[in-house]
């Protein structure tokens, strides 16, 4: 049972006060819609860089990476090493000149400049829907975690409120705070809070890793207490059956690195918006690179807690007999079956109907990996620093939501409202629309969170649909930026074909040990994958491939745009900026090479 004292509450309260305070302080700087939606394009690179990585470091990431660390071990670090760092370098060096240089205000707007109106409309609509749902899912996950950790139980008890209201209370509280600070300070507010969250995550998780490692006996102790393949990133990756994730090197490299990772880091406006807010082109290019530096070391902060959690001894019901002043004292520590059936600090999943631990097909208890990181916090932190750890978790939930909401209000206002509903309004008008879009976006997120309670499968289904829409995206941007022949009709058909292929592939394949349905095979089962991750990566590869081929084919069948219209949008037609005045080691390219070498060194070390 969680026992929070006033120190914990004080720290949490302090965070809320500062978050709102920053919002109010920024309000007077919000004069034009550019200030509100693009942070005036005036922020320094380091702030945008830290926000770039924090926008992705939502709580799903923090909890999910801990869960994955407990489930798969260090191989999880591939999500960083393969899945993020190369893509971040690519977007900084090669793609940012077009995003920033084109003066587009959003990623869909870039698509209109490069291709045509319908490609933009398709991307803007699907993106707007996805951001609203994502922030709703984030809200739902936060309320569930607050319930599971009993954060507000004490507060509710002392106030005499019904504990059933905790879910609603958590949702309303987070919605209200995010709404206020974005309403007041727009993107600047969201970015500042993402930076604040970045440091809070370090402040909350670094001591956790240090204490956890000390308890387990340091690095060598950790090595001794988990299966040997958990401690290797690359060993056994050549074949699906010899590594914990069940994925072979081609699926991993192509699927995660080239398609999914690049698709996310290079095209998702959620992260790109922070880079586009920086003050000049060189800063904008440096933003993803600056973000890549902490990204290299973040596996230690977010994956290790999960790995330590699984490596620690599982608590059992014990009785300690001691004699104090002649009296024999039996001190019994009772451990629930949920904990006893688990592994380490990872509890077993409990069937809500029978109250017994759920079993897998082979009779092993099913583990609730998502509790790995939160349980580590509760296990090692005394009151005081526990408040800090919980605040870090809350902060990451809220800033994940905030990033989605600002991306939503920008895309809604510029790409949907200004383009299709009301053209030619005043700047003030669009700023007001943006503010109200924020309110609307948050209300829709709340609706999503409540829908998630009532329909068990909604989260899985939504994430599945997102993966269909997102998987082919990178091919469109790649061809758009580096092949001047690509046309608007081709981009549009390619995107649709890619999404259709993703659905078809998912419908025809199935991971082993899964039944046809949400996991795939809902048309027919033609192929079995060794794991759902392998299926996921290959779905992305097929979607990307289909989009690429269709876009190239249709481009040759349709009329190309005159080259003069594509200056600043396509690599070969854009003049190289004169950067002779910058010292070589200050150039983004030098930073990129240094990061690449660092990432390779880390991968060799954890081979």
């Amino acid at each position: 049972m969680l026992n929070l004292t006033s120190v914990d509450w004080l720290i949490m309260l302090l965070y809320f006060v500062f978050v709102l305070g920053i919002g109010f302080a920024l309000k007077r700087y919000m004069k034009t819609s550019k200030d509100f939606f693009q942070a005036g394009r005036a922020l320094p690179a380091w702030i945008c860089g830290l926000a770039f990585i924090s926008a992705n470091l939502g709580a799903q990431e923090v909890i999910g990476m801990g869960a994955s660390g407990a489930k798969y071990g260090l191989e999880t670090a591939h999500f960083y090493g393969i899945g993020a760092i190369p893509a971040m370098i690519f977007v900084g060096i090669f793609m940012m000149p077009f995003y920033y240089g084109s003066k587009a205000r959003s990623v869909p707007e870039f698509l209109r400049m490069r291709f045509d109106e319908k490609t933009r409309a398709l991307n803007a609509c699907s993106f707007a829907v996805m951001t609203v749902f994502s922030s709703g899912i984030s809200m739902y996950a936060m309320a569930r975690l607050i319930q599971a950790l009993h954060v507000f139980d004490g507060l509710f008890n002392s106030l005499g409120w019904n504990p059933d209201g905790i879910f609603t209370f958590s949702i309303c509280l987070s919605a209200l705070i995010v709404l206020l600070y974005i309403f007041l300070g727009g993107l600047t507010s969201a970015i500042y809070n993402e930076v604040l969250q970045f440091f809070l995550i370090i402040a909350g998780f670094l001591p956790l890793v240090l204490i956890g490692l000390r308890n387990i006996g340091g690095w060598s102790g950790l090595k001794a207490s988990v299966p040997v393949q958990y401690m290797h990133e690359w060993k056994g990756v050549a074949h699906a059956s010899t590594n914990p994730m069940g994925i072979e090197i081609i699926g991993l490299g192509m699927g995660l690195g080239f398609v999914l990772g690049s698709g996310y880091w290079c095209t998702d406006f959620l992260v790109i918006q922070t880079a586009m807010a920086s003050k000049n082109m060189e800063s904008a290019r440096r933003v993803p690179l600056i973000a890549a530096i902490p990204k290299m070391v973040f596996p230690f902060l977010v994956i290790l807690p999960g790995l330590i959690a699984i490596g620690l001894p599982t608590p059992h019901t014990t009785t300690v007999v001691s004699t104090v002043n002649g009296a024999i004292i039996h001190e019994t520590t009772v451990v629930s079956p949920q904990v006893e059936q688990g592994r380490g600090l990872v509890p077993a999943k409990i069937n809500p109907v029978t109250g017994k631990p759920m079993l897998t097909a082979s009779g092993e208890p099913l583990l609730d990996y998502d509790m790995a990181t939160p349980n580590m916090l509760l296990h090692f932190f005394p009151t005081g620093i526990l408040g800090l750890g919980l605040t870090a978790l809350l902060a990451s939930f809220m800033s994940g939501m905030a990033g989605n909401v600002t991306a939503f209000n920008t895309v809604f206002t510029y790409d949907l409202y200004q383009s299709y509903i009301h053209k030619g309004g005043s700047d003030k008008h669009y700023m007001a629309v943006g503010r109200w879009a924020t309110v609307g976006g948050i209300l829709l997120s709340i609706a999503t969170a409540y829908a998630a309670i009532n329909f068990n499968n909604i989260m899985d289904t939504l994430q599945l649909v997102f993966s269909f829409v997102n998987a082919p995206l990178f091919a469109t941007f790649l061809l758009g930026m580096f092949w001047k022949r690509a046309t608007g009709h081709a981009a549009f058909t390619g995107l649709i074909a890619g999404t259709a292929t993703a659905m078809l592939h998912h419908g025809l394949t199935l991971p082993i040990e899964a039944r046809p349905g949400i996991h795939g095979g809902w048309i027919a089962v033609l192929h079995h994958y060794p794991s759902d991750m392998a299926q996921n990566f290959w779905t992305a590869i097929f979607a990307f491939g289909a989009n690429f081929v269709v876009t190239v084919f249709v481009s040759y069948c349709t009329k190309a745009r005159p080259e003069s219209e594509l200056v600043g949008l396509v690599h070969s037609l854009t003049p190289k900026p004169d950067r002779a005045h910058i010292v070589w080691w200050k150039k983004p390219e030098a930073l990129a090479v240094a990061i690449l070498l660092g990432a390779i060194a880390l991968n060799i070390f954890f081979y």
């Binding site: 302090l14 003066k103 001591p207 000049n280 620093i385």
Partner: protein, 85 residues
Amino acid sequence: MSLDLRIPMGMMFTLVGVILAAFGLATNGNEKLYAPSLGINANLWWGLVLLAFGLTMLLLGRRSQKRLAKLPPEPVGDGDARRGH
């Protein structure tokens, strides 16, 4: 730039650091409280670390603010020149 983030952020971490360190000092030697963290007074030590971080941020923020105040008004920058687009 409008508001230097380092100042509010520095203030927040300084305050959190002071609270944690003070609480850690007050509870120093409380074995039961610090049993989870292996007998280490995590509040005191981590509070001091955060205090140092917060003060550094504040110092950096203040310094650049003073430097900006001394400079003549900024010439119209790259971003403003093209605001018409």
